[in-house]
């Protein structure tokens, strides 16, 4: 019954999205303004209905109702509750339902609280949001119904891929989706502003908090995903330039550029066309990512859809949405003027530089991700991986980071480089000292050396905007920028450190044997069998001592799941202030002559990774910076709103008095 109710609510939500599109568009015409009143409530109800449908699906998973096909295929009654819930979005249909839910709720939220823009622009924005939603509702209802029944119902479900049975799954996809889909708001704002030709500071100020919000979630999603891959894969890698990772990086790059250009538009009324374009590009990248991940074009754990019809459907959606937006942009670009002007040494100019570099990196990542698909279609299989992406993106990233150190110190519109050159001596000196220091100490990898040298200078430079200010009085948005830029420097140092200082040790050890890895001494204490709710495992007791200090116990496992049957290794990590010890238990080592002969030696993989956790610490700092900026924007906005409300009351009183 619940499944049918969920489906009905989904259809109803789709119908309301249709109504929202029609009413919003009609409200733009002279005769149809009366219809405008229903657009906001409809948007809210549509979001609530989608959320209710999603909640029913979660409930079906919690109950392990195997008469629903999706539950039977992806769940199992013996799974822990958290993975039953997380399993709801650990599959194609469920994750697409999560997508439309987030999209509906975001649209409803905008409809509820956004009052800064002219009502006409809001109507166009909400109509645009409904247009995009409608496509995804159609995809869900026509090609990936999550509520489909199964008759007869099987006794037990198939279970969830063990790799997905991790707390990471509970948070990683929803976080990324909030980011992906949050960008749809920026897209709709861009559409709305283009339709009504209202591209100006008010538009940028209204759009900025939404972009910031989406960007924070994207940052957290990417950071969490990278850490998840790092500890789940059991080989200590944290970024593979895998197409699926790139799919999340591309919207982030576009959103970062958008964030900065929206700031220029809000503060200086410049970069109008560019900001609108980035609004379109950012969400387009989210959709390209969804296409890559969901269409099955890349065979991976993420590509739940093996049905090529679905791929075609998403591709069509992609073409319609991006195509329509670009046509609109082409029609209106002529009427959107460039805006205010500025000089080469100005904050705007450095932000333009940052935008161009970010867009170029985006171009590289897009090219490297899609090109192998192109050659494969021509019959040639090639691989594009880290040896391509890392140096190619560094070509643009390094100049961008240099300008990042300078830009925040410059004034708007016009400045002289002489004014800031003295201040910049400090970060420059730090960079040179770091380069010499790390070079002499034997860091040979060029990329690591660049990262390790730039990071300290960048860290110093990121703090410079606070110089000469009363720290308690410095505005929150300034703190946000400083912390986000500092986070970038911290992450960069971690990345460089991984390549430069990591110590690896692969060994087949007997119980009782000790192994050295970097400053650590690790003893294999024991191997014991353990059992979990839906798995059994062999667990190693590793006694690890740092530089002769009191030992810590690490317990990596080699885990065997029975539904579905699969073996994974579960790494064990120990974090110190200066790095992380990473341990993995492999299989029992075999005799060279015969696989059947046990040797009593166990494969251990040990890594000492100095400063590597800084990568994710940096990512979290970047997100925190974004959060502070968002907080300051929202606070300013509330203040402005109460001031205006008070003004209205006072004006009302005065009018009453005058009337009396």
């Amino acid at each position: 019954m619940l499944a049918e109710l969920g489906l009905a609510m989904l259809w109803l939500a789709a119908a309301l999205a249709g109504l929202q599109l029609v009413a919003g568009s009609v409200a733009l015409t002279r005769d149809g303004e009366g219809l405008g009143g229903i657009v906001r409530p409809v948007a809210v109800v549509q979001g609530v209905l989608a959320a209710a449908a999603f909640a029913s699906l979660i409930w079906l998973f919690v109950q392990t109702d195997t008469s629903v096909k999706l539950v039977a295929e992806n769940s199992h009654s013996a799974k822990p509750l958290i993975y039953k819930i997380a399993g709801t979005w650990g599959n194609h249909e469920g994750s697409m339902l999560l997508w439309v839910t987030v999209m509906g709720l975001a649209g409803g939220f905008v409809a509820l609280v956004e009052r800064r823009l002219p009502e006409r622009t809001m109507m166009a924005t909400l109509a645009g949001q409904a247009f995009v939603s409608l496509g995804f509702y159609a995809f869900l209802l026509l090609a990936s119904n999550p509520f489909q029944r199964l008759n007869p119902a099987p006794q037990e479900g198939n279970g969830l891929n063990p790799l997905l049975q991790d707390p990471g799954l509970a948070f990683h996809p929803p976080t990324l989706y909030l980011g992906y889909v949050g960008l749809s708001i920026a897209f709709s704002f861009a559409i709305g502003a283009l339709v009504t030709r209202e591209v100006g500071p008010a538009f940028a100020r209204a759009m900025r908090p939404w972009v910031l919000g989406a960007w924070i979630f994207l940052t957290l999603g990417i950071t969490a995903g990278s850490y998840w891959a790092y500890y789940m894969l059991g080989w200590g890698g944290w970024w593979f330039w895998d197409p699926v990772e790139n799919a999340s990086l591309m919207p982030w790059l576009a959103a970062t550029a958008l964030l900065h250009s929206a700031s220029v538009l809000a503060a200086r009324n410049a970069l109008r066309a560019w900001t609108v374009m980035l609004g379109v590009v950012a969400f387009s990248m989210s959709m390209v990512g969804t296409f890559l991940v969901r269409s099955g074009i890349l065979t991976s754990v993420h590509a739940f859809a093996v049905d090529p019809r679905r791929g075609g459907f998403i591709l069509a959606l992609l073409a319609i949405n991006i195509g329509a937006a670009l046509v609109l942009f082409a029609l209106r670009a002529g009427t959107v003027t460039e805006g205010e002007r500025f000089e080469v040494t100005s904050r705007e100019a450095s932000l333009v530089f940052n935008n161009v570099m970010l867009s170029s990196i985006l171009g590289i990542v897009l090219l490297g991700t899609l090109y192998p698909l192109v050659t494969e279609a021509m019959g040639v299989k090639v691989s594009v991986g880290p040896p391509y992406f890392t140096p190619m993106s560094a070509v643009f990233a390094v100049p961008m980071l240099v300008v990042l150190a300078i830009g925040p110190l410059l004034r708007w519109r016009h400045d002289r480089f002489k004014r800031v050159s003295l201040v910049l001596a400090a970060p420059l000196a730090v960079t040179i000292i770091a380069a010499i220091g790390f070079g002499v100490s034997g860091v040979t990898s060029t990329m690591s050396l660049i990262a390790l040298s730039l990071a300290p200078g960048l860290a110093v430079a990121s703090l410079l905007p606070l110089r000469g200010r009363n720290l308690a009085r410095a505005p929150l948005s300034l703190w946000g920028m400083v912390i986000a830029h500092l986070g970038l420097a911290v992450a960069l140092f971690g990345m460089g450190a991984d390549g430069a200082f990591t110590k690896e040790r692969l060994i087949a050890a007997c119980v009782g044997e000790s192994v050295d890895v970097g400053p650590w001494q690790v003893k294999l204490g024991a191997i014991t069998p353990v059992a979990g709710p839906n798995w059994t495992a062999l667990e190693a007791d590793l006694v690890a001592s740092y530089d002769g200090a009191a030992p810590d116990h690490l317990k990596p496992q080699s885990r065997t799941f029975w539904a579905p049957p699969q073996t994974t290794s579960v790494s064990a990590l120990h974090t110190r202030w200066n790095g992380q010890l990473y341990t993995v238990l492999g299989e029992e080592a075999h005799d060279a002559s015969s696989a059947a002969m046990p040797t009593g030696r166990w494969q251990l993989r040990l890594w000492w990774k100095p400063f590597v956790p800084m990568i994710w610490l940096g990512g979290v700092l970047v997100a925190l910076g974004g959060f502070l900026a968002l907080l300051s924007r929202v606070r300013q906005d509330l203040k402005r709103r109460t001031v205006r409300a008070r003004g209205d009351i006072r004006r009302g009183d005065r009018e009453e008095r005058e009337a009396a």
């Binding site: 100019a349 170029s360 590289i364 050659t375 040639v380 691989s383 391509y388 696989a595």
Partner: protein
């Protein structure tokens, strides 16, 4: 975000099948490092840029697939014998095709991968030049 050793059934490559066999013990250097740290570092750097042919977007340096173990063994043995890493890459490409190397070569099919970044640099320079030079003149 997850890229890993997937059900190898999906992609069975003929030359690979001969190399990897689940019932055989892993090759000696699949899970063992070379004694010489300099050579091991060389081998590791090369392994990180070679694709595990039955995995989804994973290098042979971070895969548990038997074929990846065999390829690591090959790479370590050849590096130990003093072979140049790029020669080993060329040998593997000859054997398995361009797909095995994560470092694309400039060929008739791949030249845009290198032409487009150059074009991007030119466009970026042009965009900034146009913006700023015009400003100064104005």
């Amino acid at each position: 975000m997850i890229a890993r050793f997937l059900l190898p059934v999906a992609l069975v490559l003929a030359p690979v099948a001969a190399l990897a066999d689940d019932t055989m013990p892993p090759a000696p250097f699949a899970y063992r490092q070379l004694a010489d740290p300099a050579k091991e570092a060389k081998a590791k750097a090369l392994m990180e840029t070679l694709r595990c042919l039955v995995c989804q977007s994973q290098s042979i340096a971070d895969s548990d697939a038997p074929i990846a173990g065999d390829m690591r063994n090959q790479v370590r043995l050849r590096i130990d014998a003093g072979e140049d890493p790029e020669a080993i890459r060329a040998w593997l490409i000859q054997r398995y095709g361009d797909y095995v190397s994560y470092a694309p070569r400039v060929t008739a099919a791949t030249w845009p991968l290198f032409a487009v970044p150059l074009m991007l640099i030119a466009v970026a320079a042009a965009v900034m030049r146009r913006r700023f030079v015009k400003r100064n003149a104005a």
